[in-house]
Symmetry: C2
Subunit: 199 residues, 2 copies
């Protein structure tokens, strides 16, 4: 039970400490103090300061990933985190800290595989990079709410004009079907043809 042994651990408290974030929402900035989280749902974009002082895309965090674990070592976030889709986060470590050993090992193995996926998003022809990213962002039902073209561009190391042309092309070839969702920009919500969905 760690630091909180003996304190009220009722369901309501645990539920209260969950955090959810809307697309575009800034979770935290590099250098700030804060907690570590486990991503329960959604996709986050992580940015790091480059040598020239500008924030550059560094990584994605996806369901299951640990966010900001370095705060437990240095007391500050290394990356800025912005929600790309709607996200749900839970404080980490959760539950019994004695079990966190194997959970940590699993998280490390996951982080290494996740890194490989993101590397793949930045190589090869532009079309493939964008469809791979869409696959990552799509929910199980074949719906996606895409981030702004500019974000997709920075993640894939392309330009937003290129992203626009590619997505329009996917629309025209019926791979993406525009869908209207209240409160979501009309150019962001799509239904995805099963052809490019994860096996």
């Amino acid at each position: 039970m760690g630091l909180f042994s003996g304190l009220d651990r009722g369901v309501t408290q645990v539920a209260r400490r969950l955090r959810s974030a809307l697309p575009g929402e800034l979770l935290h900035q590099a250098g700030e103090a804060g907690l570590a989280w486990r991503v329960g749902k959604g996709v986050l974009r992580l940015d790091m300061m480059a040598d020239d002082g500008t924030a550059a895309f560094a990584s994605l965090a996806i369901a299951g990933d640990i966010l900001g674990c370095e705060t437990m070592l240095f007391g500050a976030y290394t990356f800025s985190a912005v929600a790309l889709t709607q996200c749900e986060l839970a404080p980490w470590p959760e539950g019994d800290p004695d079990a966190s050993g194997s959970s940590l090992l699993e998280s490390l193995a996951n982080a290494q595989r996740r890194a490989a996926e993101i590397v793949a998003l930045r190589g090869g022809p532009a079309l493939g990079r964008v469809t791979s990213l869409i696959r990552l962002l799509a929910d199980g039902a074949g719906k996606v709410v895409l981030p702004p073209r500019q974000d997709i561009a920075e993640i894939t190391d392309l330009r937003f004009e290129t992203i626009s042309r590619i997505i329009k092309g996917l629309e025209r070839s019926q791979v993406l079907l525009p869908v209207r969702i209240e409160g979501v920009h009309a150019t962001r919500a799509y239904s995805v043809a099963s052809g490019i969905l994860p096996a």
Copy 2:
């Protein structure tokens, strides 16, 4: 002491279990069984099977990184590992497993930062990608033994002809000075001008 409690843990045994690898040497292949290691010195290239069955560059492992920790979960390596520079590896986890909790947390934070570095190697202009990689590969004294052009190409998502042109250009602009090292291909060993070395 974990599994080996009470067994001979003398210095000679620990030394015997270290592993070193020469540039180009295959450490292990994806799917094989084996141990987890900590990289003590050198740089490894990790490859993953792509959808089409070919091995694709996935990540780099650098001094301090944990290699193959997933074998402790699944019993098999996820990535193939090839030494790019001369490497020294030590079995992991080392020493007292009770201390591995904080060590694991540190490894996780490291892995996430490492991933960001590798993402940066695959974005922006070709020249910058190559010099960043050279910076990663260089030793403290400003010497590098580069891997074959083809490896550099796959890591940076460029073509080997492009790499050749860039490295020749760095030679001509005196950023790289060819150095002769016995047993090393003449086009691989360089002295690096301080201009592009890590601050």
